[in-house]
C-alpha cells in the first residue's frame, strides 16, 4: 500500500512528464491528462492488482482501458513509472517510429495497452467485453475504464450504459472525468448531459461521486469504495469532478488547453510549479 504522500510525489513527476512530452512533441493534450493524474496514479500505484510484465489477456489481473485516448500522456507516464517500459521512451511521444503513439495503440506493441482508443465512445464496450470474458474464465479481477465527459455525447456510450446493468456486469468500474470542458467550450453549453447522475442511476448503475477528483486521498478512497461495491450484480460508476489542467496555474479550468502544447516559456513556467520527484526522463 502506497501512502497518500507517496502517491502525491509520484503525481508531481507524472505531471512534469506530461508537460515535457507534449512540449517535446509540440502537440498533444495536456489539459485532461493533468486533470486525471490523481486518478491514474492512485489506480496504478495503489488500487489495481496488475503485473508490469505485460500479457495481453491479463488473466488474474485487474485491467484498465482508456476510452478518451487523447489523454494518453498521463497513462504513458504512469505505465512507464510502473515498470511497463523505460521512462526514456516517453521522449518519443508522437514521433516517427515510436511505440508511444499520439493516441493509444496496440499495433506497435507498447506494453500496458490492450486496445486502440482515440475515436471516442468505444472504450466502455470493449471493457464490457473484457469483463464478460473474465466471468467466462472464472477470473474474479476487475476491469476499469476512464472516459471524458465530452465523450458522453457519443451514442455508443449510451448503448454500453444500457447493456452493463441489464447483463449484470458487476466486475466493471467506469469513471468519468467530469471537468465540464470539451474542445469547443463547456460541456453544458456544447451539449448538456443535464442530470447525468440521475440518468446513470436510472439506467441501473451504482453511482458514487468524488467532488474533488484532484484530491489524492479522496480519489484513492473512492476507488477503494468502488471495489467494495463490485460483485453485487450491478456495475459501478464513479463521477469524478476534476479541474482541466490541474497543477499548472495558467492551464487550470481553460478548455483552450485541451489539445495545445505549451511553448518553451510556458513549459518552464509549468515545470517550476511541479517538483521533480522521481527524476525527469532523459531525452
Amino acid at each position: 500500500m502506497a501512502s497518500v504522500e507517496e502517491l502525491k510525489r509520484i503525481a508531481s513527476q507524472v505531471r512534469r512528464d506530461i508537460i515535457r512530452m507534449v512540449n517535446g512533441a509540440n502537440s498533444g493534450h495536456p489539459g485532461g491528462s493533468l486533470g486525471c493524474t490523481e486518478y491514474m496514479v492512485a489506480l496504478y500505484f495503489n488500487q489495481m492488482k496488475h503485473n508490469s510484465n505485460f500479457t495481453m489477456d491479463g488473466i488474474g489481473e485487474d485491467i484498465f482501458f482508456l476510452s478518451n485516448g487523447h489523454i494518453c500522456p498521463v497513462w504513458y507516464s504512469v505505465l512507464a513509472h510502473s515498470g511497463y517500459f523505460q521512462p526514456a521512451e516517453l521522449g518519443t511521444f508522437r514521433k516517427l517510429n515510436s511505440r508511444v503513439q499520439g493516441h493509444p495503440a496496440t499495433a506497435e506493441h507498447l506494453p500496458g495497452i490492450r486496445s486502440a482508443a482515440g475515436s471516442l465512445g468505444q472504450g466502455m464496450s470493449v471493457a464490457i467485453g473484457a469483463a464478460l470474458a473474465k466471468k467466462l474464465n472464472k477470473d474474479n479481477s476487475i476491469v476499469y475504464t476512464l472516459h471524458g465527459d465530452g465523450e458522453f455525447q457519443e451514442g455508443q456510450i449510451w448503448e454500453a450504459l444500457m447493456f452493463a446493468p441489464h447483463h449484470k456486469v458487476d466486475n466493471l468500474i467506469c469513471t468519468i472525468d467530469y471537468n465540464n470542458k470539451q474542445i469547443d467550450g463547456d460541456v453544458d453549453k456544447v451539449l448538456s448531459h443535464r442530470n447525468l447522475k440521475a440518468k446513470l442511476t436510472e439506467f441501473g448503475w451504482d453511482v458514487l461521486e468524488v467532488l474533488d477528483g484532484n484530491d489524492m486521498a479522496a480519489v484513492d478512497a473512492a476507488l477503494t469504495d468502488a471495489q467494495s461495491r463490485t460483485g453485487k450484480g450491478i456495475p459501478v460508476f464513479i463521477m469524478m469532478h476534476t479541474v482541466m489542467g490541474k497543477g499548472v496555474d495558467f492551464m487550470e479550468n481553460h478548455h483552450q488547453w485541451h489539445g495545445v502544447a505549451p511553448n518553451a516559456e510556458q513549459t518552464a513556467a509549468a515545470l517550476a510549479q511541479l517538483p521533480e520527484t522521481l527524476g525527469d526522463y532523459k531525452v
Binding site: D57, G58, I59, A105, S115, A116, S125, I128, L132, K134
Partner: protein, 319 residues
C-alpha cells in the same frame, strides 16, 4: 474436379451453413462465443443459444456496442462471432470495426448475413452492396464470401482456427448446394473447371450462376476455366495470374457493387502484371430495391445469362 463433378445435393440458405458451423464450434471449442443484435433467428443461432446459453450475448439493437464487446472478449482469449445483417455489420459500425477490431488486431469474427440484393423484399435499406469494399480496405482484415451451405459451414469452422479479424459474408435465400464437403482453406482459390478460352472468377451466390453459365458455354464448345474465389482478401494472386496467363481474358462475377469488390481487386492485380480484357457481372453502382431474390438477380444483371453473355463478349475482345 470438373463441371460434371459438382452435383446439386439439395438446397439450403448459406446462413444455415453458418448456424450449423457455429453449433459444431460450440461443441468443439469452448472459447467460441456468439453475439447478436436482435436477429438471432435470422442468423440461425437458435440451436447454439439453446445448447450454450452462457456463451451467447444478446446485445439488443446496438451494433456499435456489439463490435466493441466482441473486441473486449478477445482480450480474455475468447473467439467472438459478432453476428447481424451485413448492412449493420459493416457500414453502420465501420469506425468501431476500424479502431477496436482491425487497428487493434483483435480476433473477432464478423458474421454477416443477408448480404446483397438476394435479401429481397426488405429493399435497399437492408441490401448492402458495398460491404466487401469496406471490409477489404481495412488493413489485416480477412474477407470471405462462401458460395453455398457446405462452403459456408466449412468457412465458419476455418475462421475460428485462424487468429485475427475476419469478415465472413453470407446470405438469406435458399440456394443450391453443390460444393463437396471438406476443409476450407482461407486464401486458396478453388479451380472448379479447367479451360482455355476464358476464366470466370466468381464469389458468393454468383458461383452457382457461373457454374450454370459455364455448363452452357462448354456445351457450345467454349472451354471455360471456372475459379471459385471464396476469399476476397487475401486474394489468391498466384491462382488468378496462372489462369489468365492461359486464357487471356476474364469475367468476374459477384453480388456486389462493381466498384470496390472482387472485380476491382482482380483488375488492379492484373493491371500490375499482365492486363487482359475484363467483363464484370456486378451491380452497376446503384442501390437495390424490393423484390424476390430471383427478380432482383435478373433486374440487376446477376443471372446466369449475364455471366454467359459476359464470357462471350470478353472472348470477342481478345486479340
Amino acid at each position: 474436379m470438373a463441371l460434371q463433378d459438382y452435383v446439386t445435393t439439395g438446397k439450403k440458405d448459406t446462413r444455415s451453413g453458418f448456424g450449423d458451423g457455429i453449433l459444431e464450434l460450440g461443441r468443439t471449442n469452448p472459447n467460441v462465443v456468439a453475439l447478436c443484435a436482435d436477429l438471432a433467428g435470422s442468423l440461425k443461432l437458435d440451436a447454439f443459444i439453446k445448447e450454450f446459453p452462457e456463451r451467447y450475448v444478446q446485445v439488443g439493437i446496438a451494433e456499435a456496442n456489439m463490435m466493441g464487446i466482441a473486441a473486449g472478449l478477445t482480450v480474455g482469449g475468447k473467439i467472438p462471432f459478432a453476428t447481424t445483417f451485413a448492412n449493420f455489420a459493416t457500414g453502420r459500425v465501420y469506425d468501431q470495426i476500424r479502431q477496436s477490431i482491425a487497428y487493434s488486431h483483435k480476433n473477432v469474427k464478423i458474421a454477416a448475413s443477408h448480404a446483397g440484393v438476394t435479401l429481397g423484399e426488405d429493399g435497399a435499406t437492408h441490401q448492402i452492396l458495398e460491404d466487401l469494399g469496406l471490409m477489404q480496405m481495412l488493413p489485416g482484415m480477412v474477407v470471405i464470401n462462401p458460395c453455398d451451405y457446405n462452403q459456408t459451414k466449412a468457412a465458419t469452422l476455418a475462421v475460428a482456427e485462424y487468429v485475427g479479424p475476419v469478415y465472413l459474408r453470407f446470405g438469406r435465400p435458399v440456394w443450391p448446394i453443390f460444393m463437396p464437403e471438406g476443409k476450407f482453406e482461407i486464401g486458396k482459390a478453388i479451380l472448379m473447371n479447367e479451360g482455355k478460352d476464358v476464366t470466370i472468377f466468381a464469389t458468393g451466390h454468383l458461383v452457382w450462376k457461373s457454374l450454370e453459365a459455364a455448363r452452357q458455354l462448354e456445351a457450345e464448345g467454349v472451354s471455360v476455366e471456372l475459379i471459385n474465389i471464396h476469399t476476397i482478401k487475401p486474394l489468391d494472386e498466384e491462382a488468378i495470374l496462372r489462369s489468365v496467363a492461359k486464357t487471356r481474358c476474364m469475367v468476374v462475377a459477384e453480388e456486389h457493387n462493381r466498384i470496390g469488390g472482387l472485380g476491382s481487386s482482380i483488375s488492379t492485380l492484373l493491371a500490375h502484371h499482365t492486363p487482359v480484357p475484363l467483363e464484370q457481372v456486378a451491380v452497376n453502382d446503384s442501390f437495390g430495391e424490393s423484390g424476390t431474390p430471383d427478380q432482383l438477380m435478373k433486374k440487376y444483371g446477376l443471372d446466369t445469362i449475364n455471366v454467359y453473355e459476359a464470357a462471350k463478349k470478353v472472348i470477342g475482345r481478345k486479340n
